[in-house]
C-alpha cells in the first residue's frame, strides 16, 4: 500500500519534471548564475540581493503579463507603453501625496489599466485584426498619452511607496525582503490563477487549440479578454515599480519599446512558446531576472556592460536555435 502510494506520487513528480523541464532548467540556470556571481565579487550579501531583485521587478512584472497573453495565443507589443503610461500617471498623481492616497492611486491604476487592456483584447477579438498590429497601434497611443501627461521626466511618489518595492524609503540599500516579496507574491498569484482556476485553464485552452476549446463549451472571447486584462494589470504594476525604483517618472518612448521587447525575450527564454498553450509563468519570471542579472555579472567578470546586449541576444537566438533543431530532429525520427 505504502509503496503503491509512493510510486504513484513519484510518477506524478516525474511527469511534472519532464513536462516542465524548461521551466526547471531556467531556474537552475538562475541559481547557477547567482552562485557564480556570489563567488565573482568580494562581498556578496544583502545589498546585491536587494539590488538584483528590485531592478528585476519591472521586467519580471511585464514578463508575467506577456506570458499570460502569449499562453492565450496572443502577443502584446503595447505592454511597455502601458508601463510608460502608468509610470507617467503615477509620478504625476502621487507627487507630494500621503501614503494612503498613493496606495489608493496605485490600486486604481492597476485596475484601470487592466480594464483598458481588456478593452484592447476585446477589440482584437471583435475586429479580427492580428494581435501584433492592434497592440503596435495602441502602443503608440498609450506612449503618446504618457508623454502628454508627463511631457518631461519629473513627478514623484511617497517614500513609503518606494520602501514597498525597494525595501528603502530612499530607494537605495535597504532590506531585500520587500522586493523579493513584491516579486514573489504577484508571480505566485498569477501562476496559481493560471494553473488552478477555470479562467486560467481556459487561457491555456484557447492558446492550445481554440477550436477544441469552443467545441468543449468555453467562451473563447472571455478567455482572450481576461488574458489581456491580466497583462494590463501587470504592466501597471511594472510602471508603479519603475516609479518606486527611480522616485520619478520618465515618459521616453524608447524606454517602453525596450521594455516590450525584453518582455517578449523573457517569455520565450522562459519556455513559453509563441504559438501559445504551453509554458509556465514561473519560467518567464526566472528568465526576466536572468536578463537583468547579466549586467552586473558581466561587469564583475570585467566585460564591458555594453556586451551584455550581445550576450543576451546570442543567448536568446542560441537557445531558440537549439530548440528548433531539437523539434526538427524529433520530427525526423518520429
Amino acid at each position: 500500500m505504502m509503496t503503491a502510494v509512493r510510486s504513484a506520487s513519484t510518477a506524478v513528480w516525474r511527469a511534472g519534471l519532464t513536462r516542465n523541464t524548461w521551466t526547471l532548467g531556467v531556474w537552475l540556470l538562475l541559481s547557477a548564475l547567482l552562485i557564480w556571481y556570489a563567488t565573482l565579487i568580494p562581498v556578496f550579501g544583502q545589498f546585491q540581493i536587494t539590488s538584483i531583485s528590485k531592478n528585476s521587478l519591472p521586467l519580471v512584472y511585464l514578463a508575467i503579463g506577456q506570458a499570460i497573453i502569449v499562453i492565450a495565443g496572443g502577443i502584446d507589443l503595447s505592454l511597455g507603453a502601458l508601463l510608460l503610461l502608468t509610470n507617467a500617471l503615477a509620478a504625476r498623481l502621487m507627487d507630494d501625496q500621503p501614503f494612503a492616497m498613493v496606495l489608493f492611486i496605485a490600486i486604481f491604476l492597476i485596475a484601470g489599466l487592466g480594464i483598458l487592456n481588456a478593452l484592447v483584447g476585446y477589440i482584437i477579438s471583435v475586429s479580427g485584426v492580428p494581435d501584433i498590429v492592434v497592440t503596435l497601434a495602441t502602443g503608440y497611443i498609450w506612449s503618446g498619452f504618457a508623454l502628454w501627461i508627463l511631457p518631461s521626466p519629473g513627478g514623484g511618489t511617497a517614500p513609503e511607496f518606494r520602501w514597498l518595492f525597494t525595501g528603502a524609503q530612499s530607494g537605495i540599500g535597504g532590506t531585500y525582503i520587500m522586493p523579493i516579496l513584491m516579486m514573489a507574491a504577484p508571480a505566485i498569484l498569477v501562476f496559481l490563477l493560471s494553473r488552478h482556476t477555470r479562467i486560467g485553464l481556459s487561457i491555456y485552452a484557447i492558446g492550445s487549440d481554440s477550436i477544441a476549446a469552443r467545441l468543449a463549451g468555453l467562451d473563447v472571447r472571455r478567455a482572450k479578454v481576461s488574458s489581456y486584462a491580466i497583462g494590463g494589470a501587470m504592466a501597471a504594476l511594472a510602471g508603479l515599480a519603475t516609479v518606486a525604483l527611480t522616485g520619478t517618472g520618465d515618459p521616453r518612448f524608447s524606454v517602453g519599446a525596450n521594455a516590450t521587447l525584453n518582455s517578449v525575450a523573457a517569455v520565450v527564454l522562459g519556455g513559453v512558446a509563441l504559438v501559445g498553450g504551453t509554458g509556465l509563468v514561473l519560467g518567464a519570471v526566472a528568465a526576466g531576472v536572468i536578463l537583468i542579472m547579466l549586467n552586473p555579472i558581466l561587469s564583475a567578470v570585467g566585460i564591458d556592460p555594453n556586451n551584455a546586449q550581445i550576450i543576451q541576444g546570442l543567448l536568446i537566438a542560441g537557445v531558440m536555435m537549439v530548440g528548433g533543431l531539437v523539434t526538427l530532429l524529433r520530427e525526423r525520427s518520429a
Binding site: 506524478v12 511527469a15 491555456y204 492550445s208 469552443r214 467545441l215 468543449a216 463549451g217 498553450g277
Partner: protein
C-alpha cells in the same frame, strides 16, 4: 411521455460555406427512446448537420427545435445547456492540458466522469496524463464520458466507433440500449451498416445536402416491447447503400458510354509496359509495413483501405515528405533517396494530397496557384516563362475550371479547387502522379471529369497511383487495385472484377471468397 413531439428536430435547415452548399432544406427528427442513424456518402452533409445541431455553426436558414421549441444556438455551450451532448470526430479536448484540467474547464465533477470511464473499462486512466500523450481511441472515450457526465437528453455521436476497439464499441452499443430504455435519444453517424442494423431504430439518409430517405421499420411494435436491440435489423443493407449512393451509381453507369474515354483495358498480368515507379519493402514507424509494388507507365493502380490503415503515411513516403525507415523507392529502375518533396518532384513524382488545405494557396489567384512548381529551381526565379499565361489557359481549358471567382481560390467550389490542385501538375508536367482521394466531397459532374482526365493522362503515358475512399471508382477508373490493411498490402485484385463487396472484405483484412 409523448412520442409525437420530437426531442430534437430541424425544419428546412440550410447551410452554405461560401459557394459550397452543404445542406438544403434538411428535415431531421429524433424521438425519445430511439437510436437514430444519420447516413450518407462522404460530403453528404452529415457532419454539417451535426455541427448545426450542436451549436457550432448557425444555420443559414431553417430552425432547430428542442421538444418543439425553436432554438437559437450561438455557441456549443448553448446546445449543451438544453441537453444536447455531442462527440465530434476530432475530440474536443485541449492537447496541452491534462484530462483532469479538461474536466475542470468543463465544470464536471470527477466522480461523474470516472463512473462513465468504468463503463468503458478505462477506470485505470491517469487523470494527470496530458491529452497530447494519449492515444486517439482513449481520447474518444474520454470525450464521450465527458459528454455523458453532463447527463444529456440526446447524444450526437459522429463516427464514434471508427477509432474504438471492438470491445469498446460493444460498450457503446450497450450504452445506447440503456439510453433507449431511459427514454432518451441518440443520433449515430457511422459508415458501418452492420452497426446501423444492429442498434438503430430509424435512419435518415442524406445525399448532396438533401434528405433522400427515411427508414422507419414499424417502430411502434418494438418500442412498446422495450426491445434491447434496434428495429433496423429487418432492413437490407443494400437498400441503405442504394439510398446513400442513389443517382450517383446510376449516373456513373449511364455516363459510361461517352466517358471515361479510355476504359481500363490492359490486363496487368500480360502488360509489358515499362515500370515507371516501384517500391520495395517499405517500412515506416509501424504504420507502413513491408510494402512493395510496381507501377507501370500508362497504368492507373488503385489503392483501397479503411480509415487509418497507414495510407497517409505511405503517401507521405512516396512523395518524399518523409523518409522510410527501411526499403527502396525506384524511379524508372534507379533507386532514389529523397530528402524533401522537391527531390521527388525533380524525379517527376508528384502528389495531389487529400486535404485541399495542403495544396492550395487560398488567398491567391487560380493563376498563382497553378504556376508554383514552375519556379522550384533558383535559376527559374528571376523570370517568368513567356508561355506562362498560355500554359495556365491550357490547363484551365482542359480542366474547364470555372474562373468566375479566379482572383481568390478559396472562393471556388470544392470541385473547382480540386481541379486547380490537379491543374498545377498539368502546367508543370510529371511522370508519376500520386492521387490521395481526389474526389472526396466533390459533385458528380466534377468526379466524372476527373475520372476522364485520369484516364487521358494514363493513356498519354503517365503512371498513376489512386487512393480512393469511394470504392465504386475502382472499377470505373483503375486497371489493378491493391488493398491495404494494418500497414500491409493484403490483396491485389483485377479492377475489372473488383466489386465493392470484394474490396470491402479484403480491406477488413478478411479472405475474399473466390
Amino acid at each position: 411521455m409523448s412520442k409525437s413531439q420530437p426531442l430534437l428536430a430541424t425544419d428546412k435547415v440550410a447551410k452554405s460555406y461560401g459557394p459550397v452548399v452543404a445542406l438544403r432544406e434538411v428535415e431531421f427528427a429524433v424521438r425519445r427512446g430511439e437510436v437514430h442513424a444519420l447516413l450518407g456518402a462522404n460530403g453528404a452533409g452529415k457532419s454539417t448537420l451535426v455541427k448545426i445541431l450542436a451549436g457550432v455553426h448557425p444555420a443559414d436558414a431553417g430552425v432547430v427545435q428542442v421538444e418543439g421549441q425553436a432554438m437559437q444556438f450561438h455557441d456549443p455551450v448553448d446546445a449543451m445547456a438544453v441537453g444536447i451532448g455531442t462527440v465530434f470526430q476530432d475530440p474536443a479536448l485541449i492537447p496541452d492540458l491534462t484530462v483532469g484540467q479538461n474536466l475542470q474547464l468543463s465544470e464536471i465533477e470527477e466522480s461523474d466522469f470516472t463512473s462513465w470511464l468504468e463503463w468503458f473499462d478505462l477506470q485505470d486512466l491517469d487523470l494527470d496524463a496530458l491529452v497530447r500523450e494519449l492515444p486517439l481511441e482513449t481520447l474518444r472515450v474520454v470525450d464521450l464520458a465527458r459528454a455523458l457526465a453532463r447527463d444529456p437528453q440526446v447524444l450526437l455521436l459522429d463516427e464514434i466507433t471508427a477509432a474504438l476497439t471492438a470491445d469498446q464499441a460493444e460498450r457503446v452499443f450497450a450504452l445506447l440500449n440503456e439510453w433507449r430504455k431511459q427514454d432518451r435519444a441518440a443520433v449515430l453517424i457511422t459508415h458501418r451498416l452492420a452497426e446501423v442494423r444492429r442498434i438503430c431504430d430509424r435512419a435518415t439518409i442524406l445525399r448532396d445536402g438533401r434528405n433522400v430517405a427515411l427508414f422507419e421499420p414499424n417502430s411502434a411494435a418494438s418500442a412498446a416491447s422495450g426491445a434491447s436491440t434496434g428495429t433496423m435489423q429487418d432492413i437490407d443493407e443494400h437498400e441503405l447503400v442504394e439510398a446513400m449512393l442513389g443517382a450517383d451509381v446510376s449516373e456513373l453507369e449511364e455516363s459510361d458510354e461517352p466517358q471515361p474515354t479510355s476504359q481500363p483495358q490492359s490486363d496487368p498480368s500480360t502488360s509489358s509496359q515499362e515500370v515507371a515507379f516501384a517500391v520495395q519493402g517499405l517500412n515506416s514507424g509501424g504504420l507502413v509495413r513491408d510494402i512493395s509494388f510496381d507501377l507501370r507507365r500508362g497504368e492507373i493502380l488503385g489503392l483501397v483501405a479503411l480509415e487509418g490503415q497507414g495510407q497517409e503515411r505511405l503517401f507521405s513516403l512516396l512523395s518524399g515528405d518523409r523518409q522510410p525507415s527501411e526499403g527502396n523507392i525506384l524511379v524508372a529502375g534507379s533507386q532514389r533517396r529523397w530528402r524533401a518533396p522537391s527531390d521527388a518532384v525533380a524525379d517527376g513524382v508528384v502528389l495531389i494530397p487529400g486535404d485541399r488545405l495542403l495544396t492550395l494557396l487560398p488567398n491567391l489567384s487560380v493563376r498563382q496557384n497553378l504556376v508554383v512548381p514552375l519556379f522550384s529551381r533558383i535559376r527559374q526565379w528571376l523570370r517568368i516563362p513567356a508561355d506562362e499565361r498560355q500554359r495556365v489557359m491550357n490547363a484551365i481549358d482542359r480542366l474547364s475550371i470555372d474562373t468566375r471567382a479566379a482572383s481568390q481560390v478559396r472562393r471556388l467550389s470544392g470541385g473547382n479547387q480540386q481541379k486547380v490542385a490537379i491543374g498545377r501538375w498539368l502546367v508543370a508536367g510529371f511522370r508519376t502522379l500520386l492521387c490521395f482521394d481526389p474526389t472526396r466531397g466533390i459533385d458528380v459532374q466534377t468526379k466524372l471529369e476527373i475520372y476522364t482526365l485520369l484516364r487521358e493522362l494514363a493513356a498519354g503515358g503517365a503512371a498513376i497511383l489512386l487512393y480512393t475512399s469511394e470504392l465504386a471508382e475502382i472499377q470505373l477508373v483503375c486497371d489493378r487495385v491493391l488493398i491495404m490493411h494494418d500497414g500491409r498490402i493484403v490483396d491485389e485484385q483485377n479492377a475489372a472484377h473488383a466489386t465493392e463487396a470484394s474490396l470491402l472484405t479484403a480491406a477488413h483484412g478478411l479472405e475474399v471468397p473466390v
